[in-house]
């Protein structure tokens, strides 16, 4: 092993031998990209099919704490980008991974993050083929920032998009809502709350493939991340200029997430997720979609949460426990815990 210290220093970002050692030991020895040129050179036969298209997405990941129950920044960096490809109906193929590392970061932490990414990439069936590393001075970054870009291929004839939602369509989710947001809040420690909750962080490529196989007329899918399910629903309603009505009694929530929300005065609809899909499906294919999801570990608790209506276009409403109705608006700013 040629890395001499146990922490990253500015020298490791300098472009010289120390940097090469860092890249080799920590990254390429684990990711094993095909070839080591400045760019990855790739081919997949699916690209040749007439009508096939490339899907291309990018995302940056900043999370504190970097390691939390159920995952770490590496895992969400892989899952987030894989999921963004999958919800567009693409088969995810290749990822790039760029790291901005704060001076003083422990190598042990970096190794764990990279191992996590390698594991997740394998599970998702993608390869990490290229990347970049930068080191910045202490204080200029909060630990490690990761940016992943991803390429996938969309088969001919598949056109999924939020604006395709139609009145009568049903809205489905693959499992419990808000687990990631609640886990992070507890993990941060400032509220001194402890739970057994884990982040729902997971890749959804295989789940999406199963759904699209069983319900090929699926109109749209979205990965509910920051801003929660409520934000995604609002985006979909606005894109399609339709109304959406969800049923409070149908929302799948773990009791610990409900407990956290009661204690802190939060609304679970706005809590972040990292492995939750929202699907818009024509009514006659909803059962098939649900069955496909429930047959996989990522979708065991899949349920229908609402439907698309012609009234109040662009707006999302919720039928409450009591049969009353309230509006579920876009999140404004950040949801802050409250005492009142």
């Amino acid at each position: 092993m040629s890395l001499r210290s146990d922490r990253v220093t500015m020298a490791h970002g300098g472009g010289g031998k120390a940097m090469q050692d860092l890249i080799q030991e920590i990254f390429t020895s684990v990711f094993a990209p095909p070839g080591m040129e400045d760019q990855a050179r790739l081919f997949d036969v699916a690209l040749l099919e007439p009508g096939a298209r490339l899907a291309f997405t990018t995302d940056s990941f900043v999370v504190t704490p970097m390691e939390f129950p159920g995952g770490d920044i590496g895992k969400i960096a892989v899952c987030g980008t894989v999921n963004d490809l999958a919800v567009g109906g693409a088969r995810p193929l290749w990822l790039s991974a760029a790291f901005i590392i704060e001076e003083g970061t422990e190598f042990a932490l970096l190794r764990r993050i990279v191992a996590s990414m390698a594991r997740e990439a394998e599970a998702a069936g993608v390869r990490i083929v290229t990347g970049d590393t930068k080191v910045v001075e202490r204080g200029a970054a909060d630990g490690v920032f990761v940016t992943t870009s991803g390429i996938g291929v969309i088969p001919p004839g598949r056109e999924m998009a939020a604006h395709q939602l139609q009145v009568g369509d049903l809205l489905l989710v693959n499992g419990a809502l808000g687990d990631h947001g609640a886990t992070i809040l507890a993990a941060r420690g400032d509220m001194a709350l402890s739970t057994a909750l884990q982040s729902d962080c997971q890749s959804l490529g295989h789940l999406m493939a199963a759904v699209l196989n069983a319900a090929p007329a699926t109109r749209a899918a979205r990965d509910a991340t920051r801003g929660g399910v409520a934000s995604v629903l609002n985006e979909m309603a606005q894109a399609a200029k339709v109304g959406i009505v969800i049923d409070e009694t149908a929302l799948p929530l773990r009791s610990e997430v409900k407990g956290m929300c009661e204690i802190l005065g939060l609304d679970p609809l706005y809590l972040a997720n990292e492995g939750t899909l929202v699907l818009g499906v024509p009514a006659d294919q909803a059962e098939a979609a649900l069955a496909a999801m429930r047959s996989r570990p990522e979708g065991l608790a899949a349920v229908r949460i609402g439907r698309v209506v012609g009234e109040h276009p662009g707006q999302v409403r919720m039928t409450t426990l009591f049969g009353g109705s309230r509006i579920v608006d876009m999140l404004v700013g950040e949801q802050l815990p409250r005492i009142c």
Partner: protein, 378 residues
């Protein structure tokens, strides 16, 4: 969830609503001439809108939203003073989340944080105490606000700090009391209120007797209510039944939590740590006598105003309300949020003019959150 789910049972709600409808009919209340019931506490306002109770009760019942939102009634000058303390480099300012977005005349705490002030959200004053123990080189200040529900927690924390001899912990005290502003509203000839729903958790501390004057001297029914939808509906029914039977009493719907004489330990701590300020400025209501709490001289070492020579210790300053701001009228129930000319226009949750739009208990925030940008909650 025990003690919560049972009190959210929709079937029981239907029965309550049917009973409420019957009594409302007996009282001949209609949309044109409704019964005006004030829910004092902002937490009740929030619950009413969250469960859509305002739309489920008959048209002859109108909920008037009271001033029971301690963040909403905080004068802008107090926010400025808090920001000033927070901007000192040695200070770690700790606060509940509710206060972060409230605009001062200069800025909000959230903005000050973005500009570099060390401001941290805490769930409890105990967490602020822990920060003080861990950072002996910094001055930890707790932004103490709220009615009698949080007043004892702050007091107990100050007593604990005194026992430990902590030198770097203080409280910027903005605690206020409920009975006084209610009296001020009752004395206002403009207000036509038929009955009150009293705050459940304030009452858990002070008991039910502080409201006796409302029933006895002002002849209005008042019922202490819990925060689940069945609690609120049952309390409303009890108010209506009093009106139908010509009674004016203080009743306790929230008996499982609220003891008649309050909590002795809390009351003793409050008495030990605080005294009433002669006058305190309430945003939208002006100066109200004996309604604000000040930390007693014996605990002056834990009083941020004394430590930093700011606020009432330096001489109060009055700040002019922004142009067009109707917070006072909304808070005293004179107008509904949607009647404020700024609602949704000059004042939104992203760019608020006043606290009611950003406090989670604020009536305007409730209308916006559950009723959208046009406040369709009404």
């Amino acid at each position: 969830m025990k003690y919560i789910s049972e009190f959210r049972d929709p079937i029981a709600a239907k029965a309550l609503l049917a009973a409420i409808a019957q009594v409302t009919e007996t009282l001949a209340a209609t949309a044109a001439k409704p019964l005006q019931i004030m829910e004092i506490c902002g937490g009740h306002t929030h619950a009413i809108f969250r469960y859509g109770l305002n739309k489920l009760v008959p048209d002859g019942i109108e909920f008037i939203h009271g001033p029971g939102c301690p963040v909403c009634v905080l004068p802008m000058s107090r926010v400025d003073e808090c920001v000033e303390i927070a901007e000192r480099p040695e200070v770690i300012m700790t606060t509940f989340g509710d206060a972060m977005r409230v605009p001062g005349y200069r800025k909000s705490l959230l903005q000050a944080k973005a500009e570099g002030a060390d401001i941290r959200m805490v769930y409890s004053p105990l967490d602020a105490l822990e920060l003080a123990r861990r950072h002996p080189d910094r001055e930890v200040v707790f932004f103490g606000l709220g009615f009698e529900t949080t007043t004892p927690s702050t007091a107990l924390s100050i007593q604990q700090a005194a026992r430990e001899g902590l030198r770097n912990f203080s409280v910027f005290c903005n605690h206020i009391t409920v009975p006084e502003p209610i009296k001020a509203l009752l004395d206002d000839p403009y207000m036509q209120l038929d009955g009150f729903i009293a705050p459940g958790h304030v009452s858990m501390v002070i008991g039910t007797h502080p409201y006796d004057f409302i029933a006895r001297d002002y002849r209005k029914p008042i019922v202490v209510a819990g925060f689940e939808p069945l609690d609120l509906l049952q309390a409303l029914l009890m108010v209506l039944q009093q009106l139908a039977e010509g009674r004016t009493e203080v009743e306790n719907q929230y008996g499982r939590v609220v003891p008649e004489h309050g909590n002795p330990v809390s009351l003793a701590a409050i008495e030990d740590v605080y005294e009433r300020r002669k006058q305190f400025e309430w945003r939208g209501l002006g100066q109200i006598d004996a309604s604000g709490l000040k930390i007693r001289a014996k605990y002056a070492a834990f009083d941020a105003e004394e430590k930093f020579q700011i606020g009432y210790a330096a001489g109060p300053r009055h700040v002019v309300e922004p142009e067009g701001c109707a917070c006072g009228a909304v808070m005293t129930g004179r107008i509904k949020p949607t009647a404020c000319p700024q609602f949704g226009k000059g004042c939104t949750p992203e760019m608020p003019l006043g606290a009611l739009m950003v406090s989670s208990e604020g009536a305007c925030a409730a209308y916006w959150q559950y009723g959208g940008a046009r406040g369709e909650a009404a």
